[in-house]
Symmetry: C2
Subunit: 198 residues, 2 copies
């Protein structure tokens, strides 16, 4: 299930630090990888920073196309996330295939840029790279601007995530390391503390 | 409780996207703020990117000192995190106090730089800013290198987080927005998928 998200709410999709899938395509080639390292940097315009290692095939396709898609995977996809984060898309390309076909990963074309978005995820964004050669080179860090955003309304509606017992399979993944992911299955609502010297 | 963490494991402390407390001090002034937007950018040397808005008092003290501390708060501190993220340290300074005193927040001096680290958090890092004037200006993004790291061994040991029922109050916080935090109270261990064309 997919519903359009107001781009100015797009940063809410990644505000809580989920591990993402990054996909890219260029001239008939496509791939995807896992990315634990991303963060919003601005709500409006919606801008996100994401680390994409220079050795990856995804990086090659991002550099060639100037675009990427960010998908937010869910608990039901933990094995998929770990797998695409552990194998090289360049190996798959050398064998005349890609990670989507190799692992039976469904996709749909993103609404604005036509980038491959992963079926079964709970949110999807397409983005254009803001050229920052120095940070790309020094920190493998790309700054991107979101141009389309969608989310599964069963778990993200009215601009916010709603993690409940009845949608546990749709909760986001947060990589602790070595293939173990934390899942934000509980929430707490904070209250303002009183000032002591007020 | 605090135990030293190997700096090359420091990125594991924030790999899963927790909301942080950022503290800074300069010439007798000190403050802290909440920061939902951070990410590792390199394991070794341990480097992290964090967004600090240009209007904050924390930013002023970071710019003056070239250093900051990153503390990882836990579930028991949700009200504290929300509060220090909602009020201005500049207002407190104008009243001759600071957010630590105003809200009764305990601290200890960081082991390497002496920066104020928040008591009750579950991990603490001190870091030096790597000067990147362009990204600081364009994206409020600071790249920092971690010079000391500690964690509470009840919840982080042997280089990894261990979120269990018996340490629920020590689980990290992940800001969903508007003072609601997700808590990673469950974990899943992923397995590699078989290749379909292997």
């Amino acid at each position: 299930m997919r519903a359009t998200v107001d781009p100015e709410r797009a940063c809410r999709l990644v505000n809580h630090g989920p591990t993402l899938l990054v996909s890219a395509a260029h001239e008939g080639r496509r791939t995807l990888m896992a990315a634990a390292w991303s963060m919003p940097v601005e709500f409006a315009p919606p801008r996100i920073a994401v680390v994409v290692d220079r050795k990856t095939f995804t990086r090659e396709l991002i550099a060639a196309s100037g675009t990427l898609a960010l998908c937010v995977p869910c608990r039901a996809q933990a094995d998929l996330v770990w797998t695409v984060g552990s194998v090289s898309g360049r190996d798959a390309a050398r064998d005349g295939t890609d990670k989507f076909r190799r692992y039976g990963i469904g996709w749909f074309d993103g609404p604005t840029l036509g980038l491959p978005c992963v079926e079964g995820c709970v949110a999807w964004m397409e983005a254009r790279v803001i050229a920052e050669p120095h940070t790309e080179d020094a920190y493998d860090t790309f700054f991107v601007e979101v141009v389309s955003a969608q989310a599964d309304p069963r778990v993200f509606a009215d601009g916010r995530w709603s993690f409940r017992e009845d949608n546990a399979d749709l909760h986001t993944l947060h990589h602790l390391g070595a293939g173990v992911f934390a899942v934000p299955s509980q929430t707490v609502a904070a209250r303002a503390l009183p000032a002591r010297d007020a």
